[in-house]
């Protein structure tokens, strides 16, 4: 008040006086605060060089809830460090904040947790345990660091987001970290070097159901699928076979495609070339037939009765020709056209009535696959030769090609 009186003698009002004092007090308070702030790192026990680790991530091998997973932790430390704490919490990634956890919201760390580097162990007494301590590391400032937790981690049991709090320590100091052992508790961080938080999430699987047709497409044709093949084996003009020339016809084609997982088989039934006026077209030498080559494929012999066939599967990795119809010389593919034939391809025709013959109800196997067949178009080639004693007449045959898939 004396000062106030003195000031008043100088003409300063009370209000002005109070304002001055207030400003002085504010300046002092500000200075104190600033000093305190500046001194804070000195006065208070703290991690003087604590910094945020950078380029940090955790890659989970699976995000399925409740699944056993491997976690790949990657980050770049700011400072060198030798030990590591990874603490999983469901509320936030802040290293000193309270930590909420439950089996449904954070990974469960088992006692058998292992790491790709260092020695990993589970820390804490909570249920579940949610903290990993790794010692014996060598983290270099500014150098990316990776540690894979390869066992002992079970994802949260629900689809949820959660966080990993990562702290680095000097040798011996990670033991100073005490995780929250009850949900909502506050962990004790101890003296750590760097830290950082990472967000993770489990999520529901996406299941896809599709329906796939069983498919089998098989077409025997001459020009296009749907046109019944009607071939003339002989001279292109007269259709006549000759004792002086062999004739082939390669105008019959087939297309086969199937997704039968257990493969497919194509069988053939029918007779050898048989005189239409004859009554007996069965197997064997007969005045009514041109003799079939038989089970063993053979090359053309001009002047001898031969009716044979080969099948082209050369461009298909899935199909295999049955031995009787397998042209091992030219793959039933090279040099076979329609007309007079002078080549060396092999042709066969098993017209037996016993099993495996075309006159048997089960037919003669022409080609097979052990699995699905991508669409393939190939040819059937037929050989005709006659002898001088091959009875004159019109010879015909109708062959059924049957494709059977096993699904």
């Amino acid at each position: 008040m004396d000062n106030l009186r003195e000031d008043k003698k100088e003409g300063i009002t009370l209000v002005e006086y109070l304002k001055q004092k207030a400003r002085q007090l504010w300046a002092i308070a500000t200075a104190v605060v600033m000093a305190f702030v500046l001194l804070m790192p000195v006065l208070l026990p703290s991690n003087a060089s604590a910094a945020e680790i950078s380029s940090r991530s955790i890659t989970m091998s699976t995000s399925a809830a409740s699944a056993s997973a491997t976690y790949a932790l990657k980050f770049t430390p700011v400072s060198n460090a030798e030990e590591l704490i990874v603490d999983f919490c469901s509320n936030d990634p802040l290293v000193s904040d309270t930590c909420s956890f439950a089996a449904t919201t954070v990974p469960t760390i088992g006692s058998g947790v292992t790491s790709s580097v260092g020695t990993a162990s589970v820390v804490g007494t909570g249920a579940p345990k949610h903290t990993i301590d790794v010692t014996g590391l060598s983290m270099t400032a500014g150098t990316p660091f990776t540690v894979n937790f390869t066992a002992g981690i079970t994802n949260p049991t629900s689809n949820t987001s959660f966080y990993a709090r990562v702290l680095t320590y000097a040798t011996g100091n990670s033991s100073g970290y005490t995780p929250a052992n009850t949900s909502g508790g506050t962990p004790t961080t101890g003296t750590f070097i760097d830290s950082g938080g990472i967000a993770l999430s489990t999520t529901a699987n996406i299941s896809i159901t599709s329906k796939v047709f069983e498919t089998l497409t098989f077409c025997v044709f001459q020009t296009s699928c749907g046109t019944a093949p009607a071939l003339t084996l002989g001279d292109p003009t007269t259709g006549a076979l000759s004792v002086a020339d062999a004739y082939v016809n390669s105008n019959a084609q087939y297309t086969l495609a199937t997704n039968a997982g257990n493969g497919a088989v194509v069988t053939m039934t029918g007779t050898t070339l048989c005189r239409s006026s004859g009554a007996n077209c069965d197997t064997g030498a007969s005045p009514y037939t041109i003799s079939a080559v038989g089970t063993t494929p053979a090359t053309s012999v001009v002047g001898s009765e031969q009716f044979g066939m080969c099948v082209d599967v050369a461009g298909s990795a899935a199909l295999a020709a049955a031995s009787t119809y397998d042209d091992t010389v030219n793959s039933c593919n090279s040099g076979l056209t329609t007309g007079i034939y002078t080549g060396s391809s092999k042709f066969g025709f098993n017209d037996a009535a016993s099993a495996g013959g075309t006159n048997n109800a089960g037919g003669s196997t022409v080609m097979t696959s052990t699995g699905a067949v991508p669409s393939y178009t190939g040819t059937f080639s037929f050989l005709g030769n006659i002898a001088s004693t091959t009875e004159a007449g019109i010879y015909t045959t109708s062959l059924n090609m049957v494709a059977t898939g096993t699904f």
Binding site: D92, S96, S210, K211, V220, A230, L231, F380, S388
Partner: protein
């Protein structure tokens, strides 16, 4: 105070970072994608063999499948569709298909069952009165006759369903679909033209008319003390299905008005007698000629088919074959003259004609 800087700023920064990190760390749509065709497809190794797979044909069908799970079955449904093998899809009846006349030809893996055609594209098999329990894997195979194929070539489907009930009602126990194809027949035709090759020469080194040599036989000087003989050959090759006939035309040995009498009936050689004759055999008296050779079945005709017996009648059939033939005949000629045979140059020209019966 903790080592944290202003809390609010940190919280905001972490929240944003957390959001970004969360978005980047969430494994993008973890696809399990276990493609399941459809539930309950427990009939495996299933196939359908159609013996005659041409459109509209009536054929034998063999259905085979394996039951892969323990099952108690009372009935089986076989449903033919043109659109889909899937259990839950509608079924379009294949046009023209008809199973109503089907019969069971055989079955393996089961007995004592009954088959009922339900519709033109549906068969039912059942066992009464008690369903049967199957222990997997159990293979069943059924063969049906008299099933009419669809009218059009293409792909078709068969749905196999098993039921615990005996009348294909209620929940399906097992299911499996399969595909089969109806396709056109492959027709092949050829012509074997009529064929006959016939030639005559003194000799044929091989079964080839081009190799024949000589058309003149010189008996030399005839004598009453001995016979004179010669030979020629005939080659025939034909695909005449009813065979061929060789006829001979000509006269006996003649010199102007003088003739050497022909053997109008088969007879032996008698030197000192007037004889002209021939046969198509290997002879010993005299030693001349050979039997027919070749893959065919032709034989000398009667009168000309006996060794050491000779005959000559113009227009006679001297050889024939009942079927297609390829033969090389040797004609043996015999001439004998009596002591009073008028001198002269005696000759004869013989013509052989071969006819095929196609």
């Amino acid at each position: 105070m903790s080592a944290q800087h202003p809390k609010l700023l940190i919280r905001l920064r972490f929240s944003a970072a957390a959001l970004l990190l969360a978005l980047s760390l969430i494994p993008a749509a973890y696809l399990t994608a276990p493609v399941q065709a459809y539930a309950g497809e427990t009939l495996v190794d299933r196939s359908l063999f159609v013996q005659n797979n041409t459109p509209g044909a009536t054929s034998l069908y063999t259905v085979t499948f394996t039951i892969s799970e323990p099952s108690t079955l009372g009935s089986i449904e076989m449903l033919f569709c043109s659109n889909s093998p899937l259990q839950d899809d509608s079924c379009t009846t294949p046009v023209g298909m008809d199973v109503t006349q089907a019969h069971v030809k055989g079955a393996t893996g089961i007995s004592n069952f009954t088959m009922f055609p339900v519709t033109t594209n549906e068969l039912m098999l059942n066992w009464t009165p008690t369903p049967i329990s199957f222990t997997p894997p159990h293979v069943l195979s059924f063969t049906f006759t008299n099933i009419k194929n669809p009218n059009t070539a293409g792909s078709y489907y068969l749905r196999l369903s098993t039921y615990q009930s005996t009348n294909i009602t209620g929940p399906t126990v097992n299911f499996g679909g399969l595909a089969f194809a109806i396709t056109s027949q492959l027709q092949i035709s050829s012509v074997v033209p009529p064929y006959l090759t016939f030639c005559a020469a003194v000799t044929f080194p091989s079964f080839d008319c081009a190799t024949g040599t000589g058309n003149f036989i010189n008996f030399g000087e005839l004598s009453s003390d001995r016979s004179s003989q010669g030979s020629s050959q005939l080659f025939v090759s034909t695909n005449a299905s009813s065979g061929d006939t060789i006829q001979m035309y000509g006269t006996t040995m003649t010199s102007g008005n003088n003739v050497i009498s022909a053997l109008t009936s088969a007879g032996q050689s008698q030197p000192g007698s007037a004889q002209f004759g021939l046969n198509l055999r290997a002879n010993t008296v005299p030693s001349i000629g050979a039997d027919p050779v070749g893959p065919g079945s032709g034989q000398p005709a009667s009168g000309y088919d006996t060794p050491n017996q000779y005959k000559f009648v113009s227009n006679d059939t001297i050889a024939n074959a009942p079927v297609a033939d390829e033969r090389l005949y040797t004609v043996s000629y015999l001439v004998n003259i009596p002591k009073g045979q008028a001198p002269g140059i005696y000759a004869s020209t013989l013509t052989y004609v071969c006819s095929g019966s196609f």
